[in-house]
Amino acid sequence: MKDAQITLQINGEEYRLNVAVNRTLLEVLRDQLGMTETKYGCGTGECGACTVLVDGDKAINSCLTLAATMDGKRITTAAGFANFGELNYIQQAFTDEAAIQCGYCTPGMIVKTASLLAKNPDPTEQEIRHALEGNICRCTGYEKIVKAVKKAARTAPGAAVAEPAASVEVAQ
């Protein structure tokens, strides 16, 4: 087949789509749906700018995923964490710590942070750096980003006692 009918749940909303089979999930998000918060960086799975979550807390590179193979999946992008324009605690922590200089890597960083905190609500610095190894920043520098993740962990709703899954709940 050259085209596929798929259903994706993106940030809590259902989309029925006809996609060309050679389109990546990233291309469908950006070009077909106009959701440009997820960025194209390297196209080869090294930079993490295209990171999205699949089915809750599984972070993947959307540039290395064929949309046609994602039928029925729940996708969360960086925009999915905001609630009617109000930043969530991860986004707020990145802003507060000025970990957002040019902003290009930020959506991927936010998404990967959400995936980390869902599994490990109180990570050590080493765990944070290991978790972000697939997200490259070329201008802010990693110090502020690591600080932002630490702040996000401290300011998570019900920090340290929260249900892990609650920290990545998609705004409906």
Binding site: K58, L64, T69
Partner: protein, 289 residues
Amino acid sequence: MSSRILPDFELLMPQSVAEAVGLLSSYGRRVTVMAGGTDVLVAMKSTPSPEYVMSLANIPGLAHVLFEPAKGLRIGAKATIADLLANPDVKRHYPSLWHAAEIFATGQVRNTATVLGNLLRASPAGDCSCAIYAIGATVVFQSESGRREVDIDDFWLSYGVTARRADELAVELLLPPPVQGARAAFRRLTRTNDDLAKLNVAVQLEMLGDTCTGARLAMGCVAPTPLRLRHTEALLKGREITAELLQRIVESVPAEISPIDDKRSTAEYRRQVAGVVLKRAIEDACRAA
């Protein structure tokens, strides 16, 4: 070619192993099989595209990582690197493989890339490939004519080429049960942490006290395929592991390898460090007990 746009191809999405095997039987080498896609899609962005891509996404099952003390470890074709890491039996009984998985690529890639895909890519740099080679394993293929098992020792034929026949689907990897007194370790060198290895090494030792009664030593990035250091294995076997023996091993390794210059390192550097990295891995294994 562009890293942004994928060329045209026909996507096959079989719903079962039987259907997948039927498609392979019909189309043979015109099909590229894709599980996680982290290698296949990168390759398709830079080299001429295959006519057909067959995704395993809709085939139920095949994502298992199952340990049984008497039988060993079974890893399904769709099991990801992250699935290995999530399994406490892997960490406990196959620590070198667990370590290779832990430092494999990035979190995003670990969530998608499959263990069998790493073997089938037949790159000499595969981290899990190196660890699995030292442990020993059997790859299980399925075709319309039935099931075929290939020992990992006979699996890699040359760069990018495996023993898989055009009509076969690799469905499972079998690792032997852990041996009493066995010790293992994995080490690698990279330019940056998430980079492909410039050199990797895995050791599997069987020890009786301080005496090594059996050894499998695997090294990557030093030959067209992952390489077993059979000469060095023979040096270890039946001997007590002493500083003197380790020094002989450091000196014997360069003669067994045929590294090249590439963008990650040079042949000269690889030759210089290979023996030392192997020595340190043997020391790690001895300490691990």
